[in-house]
């Protein structure tokens, strides 16, 4: 008799706890992004294809599904690799130089507009539609939307596209990181005093 009571008790508890756990699982479910989305959100979205995929998302898919290495994205550089490593729980590895080098400064494309012949080739190449223009008319780059992917430079038959680093202005300037332990973070500016000289 007792054995049945014990079994019943155990079963009862199992049911109750199961129900509670199930309820909690539903109630507090974490709406996690699919891993591809999470990876994609880390990638810089330059869409340059330097990773060997036709854009960031395909690379993200390859990382998620085919264990592609995390160090193939030069525009993202170290920072992206670190974030990816953290997300995917793998080790941080240096950028694969075969795919290109990390650039110091972000750059954007500028079309030398008087040289542009309006061939629309760059429009077709731009992955983010950042170039405006129509056939036979001068083209121009929407600087704010350009990701600096370089893809428009090569197709241009008259070589009128330049990749120029984005200039730092007063409102985009930020303080440098101090030099660190053992250093005094002082910058010396040589000055010639006009007042004194005259």
């Amino acid at each position: 008799m007792e054995i049945f009571i014990a079994i019943a008790a155990v079963l009862g508890m199992a049911t109750i706890f199961g129900a509670v756990l199930g309820f909690i699982a539903i109630k507090f479910r974490v709406e996690g992004n699919p891993i591809v989305d999470q990876i994609d959100s880390i990638l810089p979205q330059t869409q340059c294809g330097q990773c060997g995929y036709p854009g960031c998302r395909p690379y993200a898919e390859a990382m998620a599904n085919n264990d592609e290495a995390i160090n193939h994205c030069p525009p993202g550089g170290e920072a992206t690799i670190q974030e990816l490593a953290e997300l995917l729980g793998v080790e941080v590895i240096p950028l694969d130089q075969e795919h290109g080098e990390e650039q110091e400064l972000p750059s954007v494309a500028y079309i030398r507009e008087d040289e542009c012949i309006g061939c629309t080739k760059c429009i077709q190449a731009c992955p983010v539609d950042a170039i405006l223009g129509a056939a036979k008319l001068m083209h121009t780059v929407i600087v704010d939307e350009c990701t600096g992917c370089d893809l428009c430079v090569e197709p241009c038959p008259v070589d009128c596209i330049d990749m120029l680093p984005v200039a730092i202005e007063q409102n985009t300037w930020t303080w440098d990181k101090p030099a660190g332990v053992g250093e005094s973070s002082v910058e010396r500016i040589p000055v010639t005093n006009i007042q004194e000289a005259s």
Partner: protein, 355 residues
């Protein structure tokens, strides 16, 4: 002429890390003197040995790590670690004890974690714990306290004691001189079903509170600690929390069964309590950060010390309690972030991606 470009603020209070460390050293002076008075030359020898070892170790590692040696040595942090460790070691412990302990502290507890400011554990206590586990006998053998700056043992005798023995020596060598500390003795006696009444009877307990000499040593450290608080080198939170934790448990137990459990006073002024409360637990690098966090941190150390002292296998417990709480410090920090200006409530836990 050159202008300099530098971030504000342009003026700075005249203080430095080296200054902080020097004041800390200064504050240990009363304690050192008390130990010297009661336990003789040994303590001075130990401090000297320890400081030399620490500085050599630090310089060596800095050399290996290709860091500017003089720059780092100047911060005195190695000296502080060395002195704190030496203060915790029995004055007649053989020389190799302190050398091993100090180098272990410097190499493993400090530099392997990245040097000053990056060590999660209090280096002095790591060294101490390491010694206590490896050489329990040497580490628990104290001379009986005597007074008179060790006049009766004498310098030569002490030096001989310290330098003559090697790890291979039989411990019986110095059985003749040595004895246990009052804390130790109390534990042994209580285990033998004696009551705390022995506190009044035996020689070793003959101080005014907690055993011959020990109470004065603790008073001396308390004075040094007050100096530190006065100089704003440490905040009151950790020591007060520490003593409160220890005192509350001790009071509760001794009220419940006075015959079985020693009074809070005995605990406060026995063993390395004050040294721990004001000098060891307050090591800022490995402690909790916010005021509230520090109080909790100190309080928990106090509780742990009582538990280990009373129910654990080791006579004194400062080292283990501090190390355990070092482990817990980050967690305490997570939950004790102060409420910043303009926020309804403090942030809790770890950072979320989009917080």
């Amino acid at each position: 002429m050159a202008f300099i470009s530098v971030t504000s603020p342009h003026s700075h209070r005249a203080n430095s890390t080296a200054g902080v460390m020097q004041q800390l050293l200064l504050a240990t002076l009363p304690g050192v003197l008390a130990l010297f008075w009661f336990f003789g030359w040994g303590i001075l020898v130990q401090i000297t040995l320890s400081v030399i070892t620490a500085v050599l170790c630090e310089a060596g590692i800095l050399y290996l790590r290709k860091k500017p040696i003089a720059f780092y040595l100047k911060d005195y942090s190695a000296v502080v670690t060395a002195v704190l460790l030496a203060l915790a070691i029995p004055p007649i412990a053989p020389w190799w004890i302190v050398v091993i302990g100090t180098s272990f502290a410097m190499v493993f507890a400090k530099h392997l974690y990245g040097g000053l400011g990056s060590n999660p554990f209090n280096p002095a206590m790591v060294g101490y714990a390491f010694l206590l586990i490896s050489f329990p006998l040497q580490m628990t053998t104290w001379l009986p306290s005597e007074g008179n700056f060790g006049a009766s043992t004498g310098v030569e005798n002490t030096l001989q004691l310290i330098f003559s023995s090697s790890p291979a020596d039989d411990a019986s060598n110095y059985d003749a001189f040595s004895g246990a500390t009052p804390l130790d003795e109390l534990k042994t006696q209580l285990d033998l079903d004696q009551s705390t009444d022995i506190l009044q009877q035996q020689d070793v307990f003959k101080g005014f509170i907690a055993g011959a000499g020990w109470d004065w040593v603790n008073v001396a450290f308390l004075i040094g600690g007050c100096f530190l608080i006065w100089r704003k080198i440490i905040s009151w939170h950790i020591p007060v929390g520490f003593l409160a934790g220890l005192g509350i448990l001790a009071a509760a137990f001794s009220l419940y069964q006075p015959a079985q459990y020693a009074s809070p006073l005995f605990h406060w002024f026995g063993g390395g309590c004050m040294l721990g409360a004001f000098f060891i637990a307050t090591d800022p690098v490995s402690a909790a950060t916010s005021d509230k966090g520090r109080f909790i941190y100190g309080f928990l150390i106090g509780l742990l010390i009582y538990i280990i002292r009373t129910f654990g296998g080791y006579p004194d417990a400062v080292a283990f309690a501090v190390l355990l709480l070092n482990l817990a410090a980050p967690t305490i920090d997570y939950y004790t972030q102060p409420r910043s200006y303009g926020h309804d409530k403090p942030n809790r836990g770890t950072a979320k991606k989009d917080s």
